[in-house]
């Protein structure tokens, strides 16, 4: 990290350059209008200064000028709006095949876990050149995972997942700031992002793993919480579920992404899968307060591991669900792990 005086923060991703180009355009606009206004103020204040023999001349603003003063800024604004919005949207859509890293914010630290199992606090190690998707949750208040070298940040709001992504393009260490005020030691909720060569990262992520991969922890929870006593029997199977499209009892069709899985664990009544609404007595209980944020992340990582690998690579070409039918197991041999249990795919009558 460069600790000397600087005017431009480091660039660590392609996005950081794109944001800077946009900022430069905005700066150009700002300088243009500021200089224009200052120039005319100084010019008029001198040229039309009150002095003996000089009289003010009442001039009406010509309509064409007034319309131009509304119109030209309006067109400039539309252009900037469009540019900024497109950039934001591309920063909001992670590319297919991004590696997931789980982030949990709490007063006043960042707990980070890699799917391979390695955990770290207030540091985020990432490999050079691979898109990284951060799946972020908060245990208490709102935090914000701010990465100035990547020109991105997102609030981490308790009660739901926030997602952001970036592709590191320069090896180095960069600031990580909590940007949303979160209480007494907000200013100490800082850390660093360490961008490493792929080989270095592989060595790093394999070293000092204490708990094994996150999906193993998730599988253990799945057993301990007795989830399989229902799922795969009279509740929907979870094999192949991740990122598939699910038709719900109320007619909506949703994609089974991280946010959906999280909601289904904490608030199972919110999105009932079509065909499973019949029997109130076997409805899934909420696991809010029972599971920690880490455990929810592990369960989701486990459910992801049950999806065929092909589905993880190309999220857009997934088949559209038609009711409970596609909740059946994917055919073996598609690359996914073995199915849990045969799925009767019928709720208990």
């Amino acid at each position: 990290m460069n600790t000397g005086f600087q005017f431009i923060p480091p660039h660590a991703s392609a996005m950081s350059w794109q944001v800077d180009w946009l900022l430069l355009a905005l700066l150009g606009l700002t300088i243009f209008f500021t200089v224009l206004i200052f120039f005319f103020i100084v010019l008029f204040a001198w040229k039309y200064r009150a002095r003996p023999g000089h009289k003010a001349e009442q001039v009406e603003a010509p309509m064409a000028l007034e319309i131009a003063l509304w119109g030209i800024p309006f067109i400039l604004c539309l252009g900037l709006f469009w540019w900024g919005t497109r950039l934001f949207l591309s920063a909001s859509r992670p590319p297919a095949g991004a590696m997931d890293i789980y982030v949990i914010g709490k007063q006043w630290m960042w707990k980070i876990q890699h799917p391979e199992g390695r955990k770290e606090i207030d540091e985020l190690h990432v490999p050079l050149g691979r898109p990284v998707r951060l799946i972020m949750a908060s245990q208490d208040v709102i935090h914000d995972f701010g990465l100035p070298a990547f020109r991105i940040k997102r609030d981490v709001v308790p009660g739901s997942y926030s997602v952001q992504w970036f592709t590191p393009t320069a090896v180095g260490e960069y600031h990580l700031f909590c940007d949303q005020y979160c209480g007494a030691q907000h200013a100490e909720m800082i850390g660093k992002v360490v961008v490493m060569e792929e080989a270095d990262y592989q060595r790093w992520v394999a070293g000092s793993v204490t708990d094994g991969p996150m999906r193993q922890g998730g599988e253990q929870l799945f057993v301990n919480m007795n989830c399989m006593s229902c799922h795969g029997q009279w509740a929907p199977t979870l094999a192949g579920l991740y990122m598939s499209r699910v038709r719900l009892a109320d007619g909506r069709t949703v994609q089974a992404d991280d946010a959906y899985l999280r909601r289904s664990i904490l608030d199972p009544g919110a999105d009932i899968v079509a065909g499973y609404q019949a029997n109130q007595s076997v409805l899934m209980p909420s696991f809010r307060g029972t599971l920690t944020e880490e455990q929810i992340d592990q369960l989701i990582e486990y459910i992801k591991s049950l999806a065929p690998a092909a589905y993880l690579e190309e999220p857009t070409t997934r088949p559209v669900s038609n009711g409970g039918a596609d909740l059946e197991l994917r055919k073996p041999g598609e690359g996914g792990p073995p199915p849990l249990t045969p799925d009767p795919n019928k709720p208990v009558e």
Binding site: V19, T30, F33, C77, F81
Partner: protein, 550 residues
């Protein structure tokens, strides 16, 4: 305008100031002018409390480790600074002081429509302010002035409910003042004073009043819900008891973004009066400027989501709010262009109010344009919650609203007190504030771009140079604000007698004596011409150059 005969000021003439000298005659007054003076004294008190908090913050930020105060103290300082400056200084600043004093005079009325309600407004403001100061003395609050959930309800240990209670009560003061101004503008205009003959100060305060009446109840409800959740544990915003923290932000900013326009619109009104007078011209594009005020008030209600681009609202919501935020920038730009255009072919005198006005235009232009950065989603995702945001809104609220207030205070000071302030000191203060302000806040734009988050008690070492510059600027700014406090007080006894119209300004307020009598006008004025008819005034001055007579 009616011509009234010139009466030399004498100390024996009855004025609103000498009708009574007892404390009771002030505390039970129903005279809008006396209530305005009560407000001037009280907001000045709050300004210096809020300013002291800012001073301690800037001193603390001289070093990366933040050696002056503890982190928890720092958090309470920025909360106190924000709460006091926003709710107890900026929002009442121009409307409750200059607006209260000048609106009836400008309209040719004897008072506001509801004089008792006006006094009640002041008492509510004082009650709310007292609770806020009590909370501060009892140990303070550390939530930030934004009270973000669930921190404010579940996690903060400070005096949140008491502070909220203070803001809630002061909110009613704001609502009643707005209501009073709206009714007064509709019903108490002098004969012949049609809507398009109104001074632009009235237009902008009318627009401000609409926001006060329509917006303030929402923040009152929001803060009441926070207090309910905090005291009784009713789940509204805290997700752990079934609430939604993003809902809080929607409700909070639904008021608190328009509140920015409560602060800036009145200053824009002052600008129009001052610039017209010191260029001796009618305002360029009067109707455009008038309607721009209304456009700002209306559009200002539809842009709150630009505070939440990265806070968890959907990208689609973000798009809509981004577009509307760009649109609200346009009427503000139109005003700046028209004020600058007003100077064209004028006869410009750089007296103190005009210097403040020109400072306003410059700082407001920079503040407004840097606001576009934050309205642009792709730029906001880098700049959000950094010092860039701090710099931007201080350019608007300090560079805009306070420069406007200072300009207006100097402009109408002779009318309010009957005395002139010392011109050289006035000019010096305007220049010092302008320079000190820029040195304080310009480095903060750079800090924000570099990534320094707001509300940080300390920071990485590479940010120190810019922070030291900012603190140096703040000390100059502090001097700039103490100067007027000194010379304005001095002028109350020692200032030259002002006469009724020292600026030879247009506007009914200048046709009465300085200071005005209790019921404002000896005869109800009749208006026969547009606002800002400086051509006629200057022609009559040439014909009969008696100072103070028109």
């Amino acid at each position: 305008m009616t011509t009234i005969s010139y009466i030399p000021s004498t100390s024996r003439r009855q004025t609103y100031l000498n009708v009574g000298h007892t404390v009771k005659s002030w505390l039970l007054t129903k005279d809008h002018k006396r209530i305005a003076v009560l407000y001037i004294l009280s907001i000045t008190f709050f300004f210096f409390i809020g300013g002291s908090a800012a001073t301690l913050m800037r001193l603390n930020l001289l070093t990366p480790a933040g050696n002056l105060v503890l982190e928890s103290t720092y958090n309470k300082l920025f909360t106190a600074h924000g709460v006091i400056m926003v709710f107890f200084f900026l929002i009442p600043s121009i409307p409750a002081t200059l607006g209260n004093f000048i609106i009836p005079l400008m309209l040719g009325a004897r008072d506001l429509a509801f004089p008792r309600v006006n006094l009640l407004s002041w008492y509510l403001y004082i009650a709310g302010g007292s609770l806020a100061v009590w909370a501060l003395l009892a140990g303070g609050v550390d939530t930030g002035w934004t009270f973000y959930e669930p921190y404010s309800s579940t996690y903060s240990n400070g005096w949140v409910a008491l502070t909220i209670c203070g803001i809630f009560i002061a909110g009613f003061s704001s609502i009643l003042t707005g209501l009073n101004f709206i009714v007064t503008t509709h019903t108490m205009r002098a004969r012949g004073l049609t809507w398009f003959r109104l001074p632009l100060f009235i237009w902008s305060l009318y627009a401000t009043s609409l926001i006060m009446v329509l917006g303030t109840p929402v923040v009152a409800i929001t803060l009441a819900l926070v207090a309910l959740e905090r005291i009784f544990g009713i789940g509204i915003f805290d997700p752990s008891i079934g609430g939604d923290p993003v809902l809080f932000q929607h409700m909070f900013w639904f008021y608190s973004h328009p509140a920015v326009y409560i602060m800036i619109l009145p200053a824009m009104g002052v600008m129009s009066e001052v610039i017209a007078c010191f260029t001796r011209k009618r305002i360029f594009g009067y109707k455009f400027v008038a309607f721009a005020s209304v456009a700002i008030a209306v559009l200002g209600f539809l842009v709150w989501g630009h505070h939440m681009f990265v806070a968890g609202q959907s990208a689609f919501e973000g798009m809509v709010f981004s577009l509307l935020s760009f649109l609200v920038a346009i009427p503000s730009g139109v005003k700046v262009f028209n004020w600058t255009g007003t100077m064209y072919k004028g006869s410009i005198e750089l007296k103190t109010p005009m210097l403040y006005a020109l400072g306003f235009i410059g700082l407001f232009t920079i503040g407004g344009l840097t606001g576009l950065f934050l309205a642009t989603m792709g730029a906001d995702m880098h700049l959000h919650d950094t010092y860039f945001v701090i710099a931007h809104f201080h350019y608007i609220m300090v560079g805009g609203a306070i420069m406007g207030y200072m300009g207006g205070l100097h402009f109408w000071w002779p009318k309010i007190t009957g005395r002139m302030y010392p011109e050289a000191w006035g000019r010096a203060s305007a220049v010092i504030i302008f320079l000190g302000f820029n040195l304080t806040f310009f480095p903060q734009y750079l800090l924000g771009y570099l990534g320094m988050p707001r509300r940080y008690h300390g920071y990485p070492a590479e940010f120190q140079v810019l922070n030291v510059l900012s603190t140096a600027g703040a000390s100059i700014l502090g001097v700039g604000y103490l100067l007027p406090l000194g010379y304005l007080l001095w002028s109350l006894k020692r200032g030259a007698l002002a006469g009724d119209n020292p600026w030879n300004a247009a506007g009914l307020e200048w046709t009465t004596t300085s200071p005005p009598p209790s019921d404002n006008f000896d005869q109800s004025p009749v208006v026969t011409e547009e606002a800002y008819n400086y051509a006629r005034i200057d022609a009559e001055l040439v014909a009969s150059p008696i100072p103070g007579a028109i």
